[in-house]
């Protein structure tokens, strides 16, 4: 595809190229003869020879009215695990964490989770209703919502099932698959409390239930306290309109709480005095324990971290020497206070360097630079959040909950680095 585009551009600029070629020819010959004469004649041809991109102009300003990543980044994409779910219409894919840096996830790489595919909603035809225990049930158009005061907030969104496939032991070989159901963007939206106040919440109200306009009509019960505290009704992510797969034109933002509650294509919010016990908070998103009991309403995403590089999809490609270890940490309880890393599988730990903004309920980026001696490594990271909670081991989680919880696996991840730099998802003694 890119070849075609390049070809097209080449044709367009052919006459200019010939013109330039004639002018440059003399200079190139002179340079080549100088190099050939010296003792350091051999050199990287990428340096010693003039490259096409150095000689010929590239595409003009409107070649891509909506810009996209370099053709050399074509591997940086969301990926799914086909056997996880019955059909791609109700399925999930994963953010390529090992390809990213900083704390913001590009919009096109934010993982997707749909229960009935991506709804296509014309914003002019979108309505948001607030009903139930309110003084005046209201209907808002998108234009109405644009007239409320807005806020900008950076938050992570993590699926409660992130790392869920790893409960019984190491399963998927790559942090994209073990931890890629998380993303972090800046949302622009209206605080939900303004919308609720506009309708007038009755004193008996204790819960809200947001509902999506898609064919799954996704619903969750959320305590009114949380709704009034920090929830947003968002229409922008990273400055531009929500992507269709993220709920365009409107989604709920429920900071620090499980992603399933962040209703996409948000069309209705009902106010009530009791929870509704919808499908996604009874048969799903409840945590089955070893004793057969199941926890419900486990909303907060606990303190968690993962080393994104090196990792199975991003092996070490040199024999030894300076190495940058980096990763992500986050907590639904607030900011990350500290991240420790170990190279020897938890025998000895060092504190990593946090860099970039430290925002409540958002991703945090950490680094640890070291000289690799070329020997086997067992890499782990361990985050501590501002509430003082320490990321547990997977064994600690299993001891407390058994193997069948599916959700809320925030255990410490181990990557095994062998002397060839090949990396594998393992569990260790």
């Amino acid at each position: 595809m890119s070849v075609v585009q390049k070809g097209g551009a080449a044709v367009a600029s052919a006459s200019r190229r010939q013109f330039l070629k004639a002018g440059l020819a003399g200079g190139a010959v002179a340079a080549a003869s100088t190099v050939a004469g010296g003792a350091l004649a051999a050199g990287d041809p990428l340096i010693t020879e003039i490259q096409d991109w150095n000689r010929y102009p590239g595409d003009g300003v409107d070649a891509f009215p909506y810009g996209k990543p370099s053709q050399f980044e074509s591997e940086v994409v969301r990926r799914n695990v086909p056997w996880l779910t019955s059909d791609s219409i109700s399925s999930i894919n994963f953010t390529p964490l090992h390809e990213l840096d900083g704390i913001i996830t590009p919009n096109g790489l934010c993982f997707e989770r749909h229960h009935a595919g991506i709804a296509v909603v014309d914003p002019q035809q979108h309505r948001l209703m607030i009903n139930g225990l309110v003084d005046t049930p209201l209907v808002f158009t998108m234009a109405d919502l644009m007239r409320f005061p807005r806020e900008n907030r950076v938050y992570f969104l993590e699926c409660a099932a992130n790392s869920g496939m790893e409960w019984r032991g190491s399963q998927l070989n790559g942090c994209q698959f073990t931890h890629g159901m998380v993303h972090c963007v800046m949302y622009t939206g209206v605080p939900l409390k303004y919308l609720l106040e506009e309708a007038g919440v009755k004193t008996s109200a204790k819960w809200i239930m947001p509902e999506g306009a898609d064919a799954s009509a996704m619903t969750r019960s959320i305590p009114l306290e949380k709704a009034l505290e920090d929830c947003l009704v968002a229409f922008k992510m990273n400055g531009e309109a929500l992507r269709p797969e993220q709920g365009y034109p409107l989604r709920l933002v429920v900071p620090g709480w499980e992603g399933n509650m962040w209703i996409k294509w948000l069309r209705r919010i009902e106010v009530g005095d009791e929870p509704w016990h919808q499908r996604e908070e009874t048969s799903k998103y409840t945590d089955l324990l070893a004793n057969g009991k199941a926890r419900r309403f486990t909303w907060v995403m606990d303190v968690k971290s993962v080393i994104t590089n090196p990792s199975p999809q991003a092996p070490i490609k040199y024999k030894r020497g300076r190495t940058v270890l980096t990763g992500l940490a986050w907590s639904g309880n607030g900011t990350i206070k500290r991240v420790d890393v170990t190279l020897d599988g938890g025998r000895n730990w060092v504190t990593a360097r946090l860099d970039g903004p430290s925002l409540s309920k958002s991703l945090h980026r950490f680094y640890y630079e070291f000289d690799w001696d070329g020997s086997e490594l067992f890499l782990q990271s361990r985050a501590i959040d501002e509430a003082g909670f320490v990321q547990p081991t997977k064994d600690e989680l299993r001891a407390a909950r058994g193997d069948n919880s599916i959700y809320h696996n925030n255990g410490i991840q181990t990557w095994h680095v062998n002397p060839d730099g090949v990396i594998e998802n393992v569990e260790i003694s």
Binding site: N80, P82, W83, L84, T85, S86, A116, Q124, Q125, M129, D135, P137, L138, V139, F140, A143, D144, R147, A161, S170, Q171, L172, N173, G174, E198, A199, E211, A215, S216, A217, R268, E274, W276, Q278, R279, T282, L288, G292, A294, R295, R296, D302, D344, G345, R347, N348, W349, F378, R382, I384, A387, F389, A400, I406, H408, H416, V426, E427, I428, S429
Partner: protein, 388 residues
Amino acid sequence: MSRFPNAVLVAAAALLAAVTSVSAQDAALGEKVFARCKACHAVGEGAENRVGPHLNELFGRTAGSIEGFKYSPAMTKAGEGGLVWEDETLAEFLAKPKDLVKGTKMAFAGLKKEDEIANLTAYLKTFSANAASGAATPAAPASDAPEAPAEKKSEAAPDAPETKAAAATEAAPAEAAAEVSEEVPSHGVFHLGRPATEDEVAAWDIDIRPDGAGLPEGRGTVAQGETLFADQCASCHGDFGEAVGRWPVLAGGQGTLMNERPEKTVGSFWPYLSTVYDYIRRAMPFGNARSLSDDDVYALTAYVLYLNDIVTEEDFELSKENFTSIRLPNEDNFIDDDRLSEPHYAANIEPCMKDCKPGKAEITKHAAVLDVTPDSVDDEENTGGGID
């Protein structure tokens, strides 16, 4: 987003309609009918086999002939016997699949209306180069063809924000919109939005709570539910709720919650019957949500109870009146979030930094051994723990 390309498409679609017997409108309507099929069948670019075979190049195809798809023996035999998919055979099959191919595993009961069959056939033809009518043009023009109101919009200046706002007001329910534009509402702080009408609230407020709040008037029996289930549900959930492929299992599993592989069904796991009614009503059948009547949903809910041995008589009738008298067996096994009681939550414990464990780390589990990572395996029968 300019309207101009749409205008071109309208012309193209009109031309297509004039030239061929398959009008673009039929195909467009057929695409809507296809919503009922697409939980199991894929068609179009990149379509693959799912629960059912893909439907590209269907016309002229011998029945049961897609390599790699596991057909019922009946369908394979029908193909060997000379059954080829074309207008007439497909119309007959779509009307009542089990009449044409007795023993087909396609659980869909059939399309009752002839125009639905005709429209669906027209739609599928757009993906078949061999379609007898010669409608070889892909379906894109049909699906993108603007409906009547869009033509009106095309007269407006493209993309002017003011025009968009005006169009939005026009699209709103006439009487309500008129009220908004006349006066500033008295509600709230910012006086934004407008009061919802009773009909609007009724149209969207369809949720049911465990205490029965929200239940509509209505009733349905196990026997009625069984018929509906066979027609609309069994293709994914299996005749007895045992499920096809990875679609959700609805019945059985009682007593397995402490097993190595728990089976979480309505009978074994779900705490409240209201959730069953609510979910069927809002989201089922997959691919055709909101198509069931309130009585249908009572009947299907009754049948799911029957599949789980929670009711045992086929003439059992579930209704608004007796709904809350039925309790699901696992209700008491749900507890509120008590994660904080787990030992590792003890806050402000300074974790160990030096010589924390004796000896060298030894690998106890490998991901590579399980080998279920995408790109490293193409085995769809993998048994890794799934999510859904």
